[in-house]
């Protein structure tokens, strides 16, 4: 009898523990590949310098003070804010606009498929291809300058990426072009999930197209839009490849972003602790946004 009770208890404990064993590989991987590196970077930021220094000295928040007191870092924060905010807004507007267009009932199945592929194209190119493509287009003797000078819109070729007053806006435009299809595809999926019955009921109630969009489409898409906006914020904040390939943060820091600042500080100046401090500041910005996102999602769940 006692043996049977013991066996039952063991089986119950095993049953309770079993799910955690299934989770173990994921948890171990996350700990190894995610939490350990993040912890290391955070700890690095509190030393005078690491990796190249055999005996790092604890300096508290000194690196944060140095980074935040660096005019180039402040400029990179400002540039990143402009770059990210404009990207998120225009990705959303363009992506949703195109999604509504390719989802229109008036469009036949073949034109629909054709435009979906055409509008998705920028998403299929990697950063290198996008950089080469736009460099060729914006070259002094490229297509865009050719058209501008041929039609006498400008007399001399414009130096799009070499003009310090224009480079950030041009870079932002290129990244908007490269990123809107993600919004389009996500929004399109959301649009296809909205029941027709809602629109039919609204029509019976006499709602016009704008009212249907405002009172049905937008509220139905809201969770998707918030999710992809958050992802976009994080991705764009950390965008490095395209910026590096197009301007490398130049000319004269005109397009310096927090990501290029971190890279240069770590791999050109070998100031790994300062770079870690700057990286932690980026992480904090992303985490703050994540908290807002989580609160918004949990409110929806309730």
């Amino acid at each position: 009898m006692e043996k049977s009770t013991h066996q039952n208890r063991t089986a119950r404990i095993k049953g309770k523990l079993e799910p955690y064993f299934y989770l173990l590989p994921t948890v171990a991987l996350m700990a190894l590949l995610l939490f350990v590196p993040i912890f290391l970077v955070i700890s690095y930021s509190f030393y005078d310098n690491v990796i190249i220094n055999d005996n790092p000295v604890w300096v508290g928040f000194e690196n944060y003070a140095t980074v935040l007191g660096d005019a180039i870092f402040v400029k990179s924060m400002k540039n990143t804010a402009i770059f990210v905010v404009l990207n998120v807004i225009f990705h959303l507007l363009i992506g949703m606009g195109f999604a509504l267009m390719v989802n229109a009932k008036s469009l036949g199945p073949r034109p629909k498929a054709f435009f979906r592929i055409i509008y998705m194209l920028p998403w299929m190119f990697n950063a290198t291809v996008i950089a080469i493509l736009w460099k060729l287009l914006l070259n002094g003797s490229g297509v865009i300058n050719y058209l501008l000078t041929t039609f006498h819109i400008t007399e001399i070729p414009l130096e799009w990426l070499s003009d310090r007053s224009a480079a950030l806006w041009v870079l932002t435009f290129i990244n908007i072009w490269a990123g809107y299809p993600f919004y389009m595809i996500s929004t399109l999926a959301g649009l296809q999930g909205i029941p027709d019955s809602l629109y039919e009921s609204a029509s019976i109630d006499g709602a016009n197209g704008l009212q249907k969009f405002w009172h049905i489409t937008l509220p139905q898409l809201r969770p998707i839009l918030i999710s992809i906006a958050m992802l976009d914020f994080i991705w764009t904040t950390q965008n490095f490849s395209l910026i590096w390939l197009l301007t490398a943060g130049g000319p004269a820091h005109a397009t310096e972003m927090m990501s290029t600042y971190v890279y240069k500080t770590a791999f050109q100046s070998y100031q790994y602790s300062l770079a870690s401090a700057a990286a932690v500041i980026i992480l904090i910005a992303c985490v703050i946004l994540a908290i807002f996102y989580v609160r918004s999602q949990t409110r929806n769940d309730e």
Partner: protein, 463 residues
């Protein structure tokens, strides 16, 4: 509780996105995997059982399979196997940086001049002088070694002078006779050639900070005028350097006279070569390593090389920018002596000569007699300039050389755009940045990159 778990899991998801999301640098480093050979790379295990990893970009810039054949010949001779880790230059740089930081550098690594000082002073490279002694290698025929504070940490294998490529077709079409030797002559030639309506410009140079070594092209105008960016004891000498002020003003005048190709501030090395082969630039400072590439892409172009034009009144010795393919031995390698033997093998007169022919460069072994097959006028011009002058690479003696060249690049752009009222003011600011790098580096005692004297075949250090 449910709410808390949801929040924790969501935060974990966001952190994972932050860790994985679009950071090219870290992605490149991660994907680089220093320990993994590039596809197609092979290693034949030799008799000794020792396998050396050789991380480099040289393989990608020579005839396919050539470097592997050199390694196989070495294996046959010594029993030491070589595993080639071959990637393009930019990837190699990222991988070596990542592996140096992680303490997992390959046994033998290719080194660009701008990295050597920092890798050496950070303890990533082994002392080659000691290794040469321990393996009994007589380096008497080796014309160039890269020493930091008197210790050799990098061994150049092939030298590549950087000169001024000239599109002779454009000069002829503009009625320019003779090749410019002075700044004034160059300006006049540029003005004669420049024709914006046909997208033709006098001068084009990369200035993107993605590879700030472009500032060596700028400095080459100074070097070939007998100037230097260093004091006699190897410290930065920018502020108050009159010849550098003149050089800076001359460089700005190229922009003021509208003879530079549009988009130079963000132009990369590849962009610049592309503009040149498309016949849009008459004068282009460039590494001669691109000669083969230029001839392939523009086979009909009539082109040659000249040394960088000098200050009008200068009549002294000739100097040119020189870069090289250098290698070093990792300080954490368990087979340092075997690695040194491999370097010694690459320096052998026959091997070194053949390597230079395949790479299109010049030998480091003074006894090497490369049998160049290129008999073009352009290559003859390169040989003449190389043999008649001295190579300079002064930036390599600076701590965090790449970062400092980036700062010089930024300051130069700001000066050209009018942010600084004078070249003196700009150079004072640049000097302060250079000085700060010295203050932050306890190892900075005026170490030096060896200059290459092609005539004497001897090593001469700037400090």
């Amino acid at each position: 509780m449910k709410k808390l778990v949801t929040m924790v899991l969501s935060l974990a998801m966001v952190l994972s996105l932050a860790a994985c999301g679009g950071s090219g640098g870290s992605d490149a480093a991660a994907s680089g995997d220093a320990a993994a050979p590039a596809s197609g790379d092979t290693a034949t295990t030799g008799d000794s059982g020792v396998v050396l990893e050789f991380q480099q970009w040289f393989d990608n810039e020579m005839e396919a399979g050539y470097l592997q054949s050199v390694c196989d010949a070495f294996t046959e001779e010594t029993g030491i196997s070589i595993e080639l880790l071959s990637n393009p230059y930019a990837d190699t740089k990222t991988q070596i940086e990542a592996s140096a930081a992680a303490g997992t550098m390959a046994d033998v690594v290719a080194l660009d001049g701008g990295w050597i000082y920092d890798y050496a002073t950070h303890g990533h490279l082994a002392n080659l002088d000691e290794l040469y002694v321990s393996i009994g290698f007589d380096d008497g025929e080796v014309s160039t070694k890269t020493a930091i504070n008197g210790v050799t940490y990098a061994q150049p294998l092939v030298n590549f002078p950087s000169l001024m490529a000239v599109n002779l077709d454009l000069l002829e079409a503009a009625g320019v006779e003779g090749l410019p030797e002075t700044w004034t002559e160059m300006m006049e030639a540029c003005q004669a050639v420049t024709d914006p309506t046909n997208n033709i410009y006098g001068f084009g140079m990369n200035m993107s900070t993605d590879n700030a070594t472009c500032m060596e092209f700028f400095a080459a105008f100074l070097w070939n005028s007998g100037g230097s960016i260093l004091t006699d004891d190897g410290k930065p000498n920018l502020a108050g350097n009159e010849l550098l002020v003149d050089t800076t003003e001359f460089f700005k005048s190229l922009f003021d006279n509208n003879v530079v190709v549009p988009g130079m501030y963000s132009m990369t090395d590849a962009d610049k070569v592309q503009e040149f082969v498309n016949g849009r630039i008459a004068f282009m400072p460039d590494s001669v390593a691109h000669l083969t590439n230029i001839k392939e892409q523009a086979p009909d172009m009539n082109m040659t090389y000249i040394n960088m034009p000098h200050e009008d009144s200068y009549s002294g010795d000739s100097y040119y920018r020189v870069n090289n393919w250098a290698v070093g031995v990792s300080a954490n390698s368990e087979h340092q002596e075997e690695a040194a033997k491999f370097i010694a093998y690459l320096l052998g007169s026959d091997v070194n000569a053949d390597l230079c022919v395949k790479a299109g460069g010049f030998p480091v072994n003074s006894a090497a007699q490369p049998a160049y097959t290129d008999d073009s006028e352009a290559f003859k011009a390169i040989q003449e300039i190389y043999n008649g002058g001295t190579g300079k690479a002064e930036f390599y003696s600076l701590p965090t050389a790449e970062a400092l060249m980036t700062e010089l690049d930024n300051d130069l752009v700001m000066y050209i755009d009018g942010d600084y009222s004078s070249a003196e003011e700009m150079l004072e600011h640049t000097q302060s940045v250079f000085d700060a790098a010295y203050e932050g580096d306890p190892n900075a005692t005026g170490g030096a990159e060896a200059n290459v004297d092609a005539d004497s075949g001897t090593t001469s250090e700037a400090a």
